[in-house]
């Protein structure tokens, strides 16, 4: 069995994010990191590989992004992936969700995975949807926000929380599964794994290598244009208390509640 894990490089959580007014795209300069939600997908792949219920031949990390995205792949490999694939091409810049999903699907199709795993959302785009786009292009069954996966021969039993409670769903492989952050506690990479990550095989692909129709990607291939970025209606900032003396803090809270007749 072959597992591909989709990963993404995102601005570090501590970095202030902004839209570049000249391009209308997210300013992605500054410190970057592997999308924290993706570490759960890699961990899920490792647990399947180590679980012994099925034989996993390899775990492959796949990303799309500029040259710097290689660091996200190195991180993924340090967490256990055997090798990685980097789709990078000027023609992809400015792709919307649908175009990105198409490009990733073409890259995955060349790998012919039995299972594609990804995180429930990216830390920057907040879209939750790339898995469903990829699955439709690959013509594979799909489920998102999965918090438990049991693998048997050619089949997955998945659990997730949906609108009306917990659903249990059986899915035939090959399939695309996005995992929720409750599925596991990702491991930390060992120093040895971090040092060795750059030595693992990394394939760099351009659009032509995986038969991507360039008319369907990039800004021109996208069917939605974002613009007119503006501030949300301002809510009056709340009062903040730093707890230094807890008795005093509690006194302040009680006075605040009392003033509003909440006690």
């Amino acid at each position: 069995m072959k597992i591909c894990v989709l990963v993404k490089e995102v601005p570090d959580a501590a970095v202030e994010k902004r839209i570049d007014p000249s391009t209308g795209r997210l300013d992605r300069t500054g410190e970057k990191n592997l999308n924290p939600f993706d570490t759960h997908a890699i961990e899920a792949a490792m647990q399947i590989k180590e679980g012994g219920a099925v034989d996993v031949d390899e775990v492959v990390a796949v990303t799309m992004g500029p040259e710097s995205a290689v660091r996200a792949l190195h991180k993924a490999v340090s967490l256990g992936a055997d090798r990685s694939v980097h789709l990078t091409d000027e023609a992809l810049a400015g792709s919307d969700v649908a175009a990105t999903g198409y490009a990733l699907a073409q890259t995955l199709a060349a790998e012919q995975p039995d299972l594609v795993l990804l995180g429930q959302q990216s830390d920057d785009g907040e879209c939750y949807t790339i898995g469903a786009v990829v699955a439709d292009h690959l013509q594979m069954p799909s489920l998102t926000q999965v918090i438990k996966i049991d693998v048997s021969d050619g089949n997955l039993r998945c659990e997730r929380q949906a609108e009306y409670g917990y659903d249990t769903v059986d899915i035939e492989l090959p399939a695309v599964i996005s995992v929720g952050d409750a599925i596991n506690e990702p491991r930390y990479p060992s120093l040895k794994a971090i040092m060795g990550a750059k030595k693992k095989p990394l394939d760099t692909k351009a659009t032509g290598d995986v038969e991507i129709d360039v008319a369907m990607v990039g800004g021109d291939g996208s069917q939605v244009a974002c613009g007119n970025f503006h501030d949300p209606p301002q809510k009056e900032a709340g009062q903040i208390i730093e707890d230094e003396d807890t008795a005093e803090t509690v006194e302040k809270i009680v006075a605040w509640l009392d003033e509003r007749k909440l006690i």
């Binding site: 198409y102 907040e126 469903a132 699955a135 439709d136 369907m216």
Partner: protein, 325 residues
């Protein structure tokens, strides 16, 4: 002519509230566009003409009925793609909820359409729909405009208000859907399992909610005591419900309940968007978190940066004393 197709989710004989909001919103927008709002409902023989025609009350003029498995996205994508191919809808609209994200994204892939998610407002401009969504942890608003034949709009939870428009009933039309081979490879084994006790959080004036910052399941004991002092109830985030620390019936947010109590006190909750959408209309929001950068402080009326294990017990005593006086 610009018609809008709305996916309407139903469960145990009732339409989903967010879906009804989306129908109401579509009816309003369609009237401005000079088109019609249509709905599509997917399910088994339980979908009677009478039940479906009831969507007319919210402004749908036509309801498409497709016989296909419920609760999974891909059969619905097949059905919606077929209806749009046959009828040429210009937009597909979804209320907030997990399935809407999956169906909307699948439909965008299938129809090569633009898609915008977490939409909080839709307006008509120049005969087209423009969808606004908050981005970057709600610090900015972005507007989407669509090119191409179809635009997909996925609402944020509770973004669209349910509004009854007129007394007319909708016509019901059956759709013959041939499911894609991969759409039948996922099968629902069990749907809507309620994990944990049945707790009531929707009627409480005061809610004390706990998140991962409690550290362990026993952390809820001190919240029980604080809630009892207020005469309120205890609620939780998705993270701790998934971890098995608290019953699903007491969960706030995207796949849980939406509440608006007089007082919402969040203990050890970071304030992810999926949680915020379920409680942001509370009258007063108080947050206790040791991380001063936690997003919840952005939308709290009173924020306390500190250790909840120190503050909550003392607060409980103080509230009891105040009530006793």
């Amino acid at each position: 002519m610009s018609n809008i197709l709305v996916y309407v989710l139903h469960y145990e004989g009732e339409f989903n509230k967010n879906s009804l909001g989306a129908v109401s919103e579509a009816a309003k927008l369609a009237s401005e566009l000079g088109g019609e709002a249509h709905a599509i409902v997917v399910g088994d023989d339980g979908l009677t003409d009478e039940f479906l025609a009831g969507l007319g009350k919210y402004g749908a003029t036509k309801v498409f009925r497709a016989k296909a498995p419920e609760g999974l996205a891909q059969p619905v994508v097949d059905a919606m793609a077929k209806v749009i191919d046959d009828n040429g809808h210009s937009y597909a609209l979804f209320g907030g909820g997990l399935l809407g994200f999956e169906i909307g994204a699948g439909l965008a892939a299938r129809k090569k359409a633009g898609v915008t998610m977490e939409v909080t407002e839709v307006k008509v401009d120049n005969g087209e729909l423009v969808a606004s969504r908050p981005i970057l942890q709600d610090s900015m608003i972005s507007e989407s405009r669509y090119t191409g034949d179809l635009g997909v709009i996925i609402g944020r939870l509770n973004a669209f208000e349910v509004a009854e428009r007129n007394g007319a009933s909708a016509t019901v039309e059956d759709v013959d859907v041939e499911l894609s081979p991969f759409s039948t490879k996922a099968k629902m084994v069990q749907r809507g399992e309620q994990r944990g006790a049945d707790v009531n959080i929707e009627d409480a004036d005061v809610l004390i909610a706990g998140g991962r910052g409690l550290g362990k399941p026993e952390g809820f004991e001190q919240l029980d005591e604080l809630a009892a002092a207020f005469g309120g109830a205890v609620a939780a985030t998705r993270a701790v419900v998934d971890a098995g620390w608290f019953p699903y019936a007491g969960q706030i947010g995207q796949t849980g309940k939406t509440v608006a109590p007089k007082l919402y006190l969040a203990a050890g909750i970071s304030g992810a968007i999926q949680h915020k959408v379920g409680m942001q209309n509370s009258e007063n929001i108080v947050a206790i978190n040791k991380d001063s950068n936690a997003p919840i402080f952005e939308f709290s009326d009173l924020g306390i940066v500190g250790d909840l294990n120190k503050i909550v017990p003392k607060l409980t005593e103080a509230v009891k004393a105040k009530k006793g006086s």
